[in-house]
Symmetry: C2
């Protein structure tokens, strides 16, 4: 029987330099345009990073689009300025920046304040002889700052309490409030110590000109969502006019960050996966809520944060909805579905929490918002937003363009009601007012019912009434051309603007956090890094390793490779000259969960060995047995322990260099 000694994944302290070095060396990603000095916030994904991203997206499509029958879209990145003016992004999608008053260096105001206050708290802890805990600050703040250093300097107990409270609420500060804070706490430009200018807004969208005339301004989309909203009518028709339904889109978005510094966590161009779930505003219940109501989530509600704390509350989502912590079932349903997705791809559940936005922090379009935050060495970072955008977007686009973006639902019972309307005697009215008749008729017809009733009274009392049209001109109408009548109307359909619940995934942030969670170094050698990615997500599932470069192994390698490919399992052959141990170590760094070794036993007996990445244990069997076991392992049908019950252990020493 196979033995399973415990693998100690925490023998060595986590070292970000080490994993970032590994990820770049193995070309998971690399700074883009390196030969040209690089551009902050732009990264390229190499083969393992592309494959990992693609596996995460496939899992996302299965988990959301296929499982929930969503309607997939693919809309454009280039967006005319008008659209983003209407959506509020031109006016409000901005961050506050300050400049070093002397050098002109630019800082993002909130990040700078956070960094300075945290540095002071750290300096205080040092002076008091307290080990600086990581993460240093209790809020999600520390994910965004440039790490600053200050010499030990003790603060008063009141100041410490004040700073800690400020940091817990920092996301709630407006630009002018940040400016006041900079003044009150005498915050200066780091490095130079110069004064800072007042915070000014910087819009985060990239601008461009569409077409050769230079007259059509556009932006690169900062989110994929507008593409969903503008196609709402077509989507509704595609769904046979029925609600609720969700559209989904995977695509690039762009944000011209002021000063991006945290690797894949803050970039200027990124892949998003967004869902817009359209729902009847009078009923945000979800038919499958019962399936998820018992799931416990780690929640950080807004009132807890407002109280200066970041203690999570563990609560079943059913309870959270019934207590009003989470607003409605649909929002709660998606929080659990997001949780399930993140756990499935390998995120550590203890390093995942759902934080509610505070009032000032909320995006301009959101009525309520919860972020799935994942903890990494950069602190707690928003990786998925789950916002209730209410009817905001559909309403503003509809008002701006005059296009109805509504759902029409047949009423079960017909509604009858009376209403006053204006009735014109067309024979007299047209000839009397000529070209002005149209505007007069439009103006009166658009009046509210109460106003119409006043007119009725005036007509009855004076035999005429006066009406002012848009350009200020006034007309008198006599009771021979205009009458106000009560009429009965019947309504057979209800017309309403749906609300939208939007789960929005930052794929790069999830990918990086996942890599940190998966990384550890072997107890016996700190230089041997391992990425324990789940087989379903790992870029390559199987490494095929011939003992040496000899020709006799070639046909066997081809057989194994073909069988794996037929089973849909990505595999790679490493027939380089490095030792088997080195080749395996290289692939541990790539997160490859299984290795198949071809040796002279393969030629003689048709056997190969199967190595598992984390334990480095090996089993032995025929090619077909091993390929079959690998298939079951990768599909999640069995685990390594069960594999060990199906095949005998092999006690070679191939992992030695």
């Amino acid at each position: 029987m196979t033995t399973h000694p415990t693998i100690n994944k925490t023998a060595h302290a986590f070292d970000r330099t080490q994993i970032e070095g590994l990820l770049i060396k193995r070309f998971f990603y690399a700074p883009a345009f390196e030969h040209y000095g690089g551009v902050a916030g732009l990264y390229d994904y190499g083969p393992p990073g592309s494959a990992l991203q693609s596996n995460i997206l496939n899992e996302w499509r299965r988990h959301f689009i296929i499982e929930e029958d969503m309607l997939e879209l693919d809309t454009t990145c280039i967006t005319p300025a008008d659209v983003l003016k209407t959506s509020g992004h031109v006016d409000k999608f901005s961050d506050w920046m300050v400049r070093d008053a002397v050098t002109g260096d630019i800082f993002r105001a909130d990040h700078l304040v956070e960094a300075v206050l945290e540095a002071r708290l750290n300096a205080d802890r040092e002076a008091r002889g307290i080990a600086s805990a990581a993460p240093a600050a209790p809020s999600s703040a520390n994910a965004k700052k440039k790490k600053l250093k200050a010499p030990p300097a003790q603060l008063s107990d009141e100041t410490v309490a004040k700073y800690e409270s400020l940091l817990a609420q920092i996301d709630n500060y407006t630009g002018p409030e940040l400016g006041a804070l900079i003044e009150a706490e005498t915050i200066k430009a780091p490095e130079t110590g110069n004064a800072l200018t007042s915070p000014v807004e910087f819009n985060l969208m990239f601008e461009c000109q569409i077409g050769p005339t230079g007259q059509l301004k556009g932006y690169l989309r900062p989110e994929t969502a507008q593409g969903h909203f503008l196609n709402f009518n077509r989507l509704l028709e595609f769904n046979n006019g029925k609600l609720p339904f969700a559209s989904a889109q995977v695509g690039r978005s762009f944000r011209n960050e002021i000063s991006p510094k945290q690797g894949l966590l803050r970039v200027r161009e990124f892949t998003m996966a967004e869902i817009e779930h359209f729902v009847d505003p009078t009923s945000k219940a979800h038919p499958r809520f019962a399936e998820v109501a018992g799931t416990t989530l780690r929640l950080l509600p807004k009132d807890v944060q407002a109280g200066g704390s970041t203690e999570v509350v563990e609560m079943a989502v059913g309870e959270a909805v019934s207590k009003g912590v989470v607003d409605n079932e649909t929002l709660g349903y998606f929080l659990v579905r997001i949780y399930q997705f993140l756990i499935k791809i390998g995120i550590d559940p203890l390093r995942l929490r759902f934080r509610q936005h505070m009032a000032n922090e909320m995006a301009h379009y959101a009525a309520d918002c919860w972020d799935a935050e994942i903890q990494s060495s950069y602190g707690w970072v928003e990786c998925v937003g789950c916002a209730d955008r209410s009817a905001y977007d559909l309403t503003v686009h509809s008002v701006r363009t005059g296009t109805k973006l509504v759902v029409r639902e047949p009423l079960k019972e017909l509604i009858e009601y009376e209403k006053s309307i204006a009735v014109f005697d067309k024979k007299l009215f047209g000839p009397r007012y000529k070209k002005d008749a149209k505007i007069i008729e439009e103006t009166i017809s658009a009046l509210e019912e109460l106003r119409l009733e006043c007119i009725a009274k005036e007509l009855a009392a004076n035999g005429s009434t006066k009406v002012k049209v848009a350009d200020g001109k006034e007309y008198e109408l006599a009771s021979d051309v205009l009458k106000i009548e009560r009429r009965t109307f019947k309504e057979t359909t209800r017309e309403f603007t749906p609300n939208v619940i939007e789960p929005s995934f930052g794929i790069g942030r999830i990918l990086y956090s996942l890599l940190e969670h998966a990384f550890w170094t072997r107890e016996e050698d700190i230089n041997r890094g391992v990425l324990s990615l789940p087989p379903s997500i790992a870029p390559v599932k199987v490494l095929i390793v011939p003992l040496s470069g000899t020709e006799v192994f070639r046909p066997i390698i081809k057989i194994i490779s073909d069988k794996l490919r037929k089973a849909g399992l990505a595999n790679r052959v490493d027939d380089s000259n490095a030792s088997i141990g080195k080749r395996y170590a290289r692939n541990d760094e790539l997160g490859t969960p299984f290795g198949i070794t071809v040796d002279f036993g393969s030629v003689k007996n048709g056997t190969v060995t199967l190595r598992e990445r984390d334990s480095t244990k090996q089993l032995i069997g025929s090619i077909d047995e091993v390929v079959g076991i690998v298939e079951e392992l990768c599909r999640g049908q069995i685990d390594w322990k069960e594999a060990g019950e199906k095949l005998p252990e092999y006690s070679g020493t191939q992992d030695a260099d």
Copy 2:
């Protein structure tokens, strides 16, 4: 036994208005930002279009990346201006535009000339009483123009011959040549009849500013290729330093077209799939060329076009390479692989040709280029380019940045050679020239060997030599500090810049052409459109249709849907109130190849019927039998005829409305 009457797909003439109407109605795609008046050249894909695109890309990944072990990349769209200056795009990636001298309206010069000449030829044909053949012009030209109309007007026979010859070569015209043509043929602005301005270049890249300072200019990439080239060293290392290898990338690119008018065929933002195959320039043989050498392609070489003809040459690619029509095996190999891919997804082989670029038409980086052109109602349109970019890109980036982008190959035999080098007496040299020593040493060391030998002679003759450094300053060096010596060097590695063969796919163009090839209307009713997409590519594989909305069908529908999902087959339930015939007709328009009908027989006997889209014939069997057959059909393991041998025919009349 099932009977298979021939389906007549050409009973009705092809009508572009009809298919474009269908594609927009069924939301394959739609003009983006319609509520805002739309933006030329921007389209959104709806659910069937997204699924179709995704299936084409999956097939592409299988056919190229997986089958040929390519290295996938995902690089950024935003590109600093420096990179695209080096690559030549800032200076040369442009089209020629002319303006209406009075109204200022803008036209793309070549498209306008083509449109006018073709209109004159058509008017001539009309005057001569000849039916205007479609495509009207013999070249690929007519794909790009706005259709113009002119009253019948006969031309001289010489003029007709001249115009036809001009049109066959139009892609070869430079801007000034187009200007001369406009003058010589008195071409005016259509509609207004005003004079046209001289052609000026318009760069097709979208410009943007990176970061908040406004000092870093960028462009949206016009191709994904530069992202491959700039990552060459990392890719080579990932491939263990070995050549040949190919990188592959699917992603968005952007071109600010002057006046896009042909639907999905000319857009400002599009999905590309690009391969960069890096190869030793001294050996462009391909190890798998033998597998494809016998495949016959329809070729249109440049000399045929230069002769004013567009007659394709059918030739096996082996012969084409050996005769020098196609330059090398690698290029020939990829032409066949491109051909195989396009046929596999459903392109009509008779409406596919490979056209070689003419000298002036070639992109600035290309040494040779063949376009896979697909014929649609817009004429022959480039859908895949296959260019030999030689060492152009790696060389220019290397020169500009000083980074070596080369392959080092161990030489089988060591090479020994002698070379003259400059040797400085460090003890005297440094103190004598102080801070200038470095620049002097660098300048002399960088001199060519012949120049060093001259210096050697001067030193021998005069005891000193003069050297001028970069800033023009001249220094005298005496023979005590500088000596020129012959030394022996040994070389163990060969260092070279690889060449690149680039197959580059415009996915939107392929997708649209495919839809045109797949479209036909039923003989009995011209209003019933069908998209005969291959099952592997069709957006949805199976439509599940309950006879009515009754509750008793629900569990059966769920069983079928779950079984299909488990088999990985996309399916959709249509339980709307429309008649079964209407529901099937709707799904014929969506290209859904199979339909499963659930009726009372399903409740009583557990049977369902299976309908095939093109023939509308039906078979009957148990749920498991039918799901099994559908799986084999979608995997291409059997065809409909063979399915008919496994299950009995069902002769219901469900297709009637």
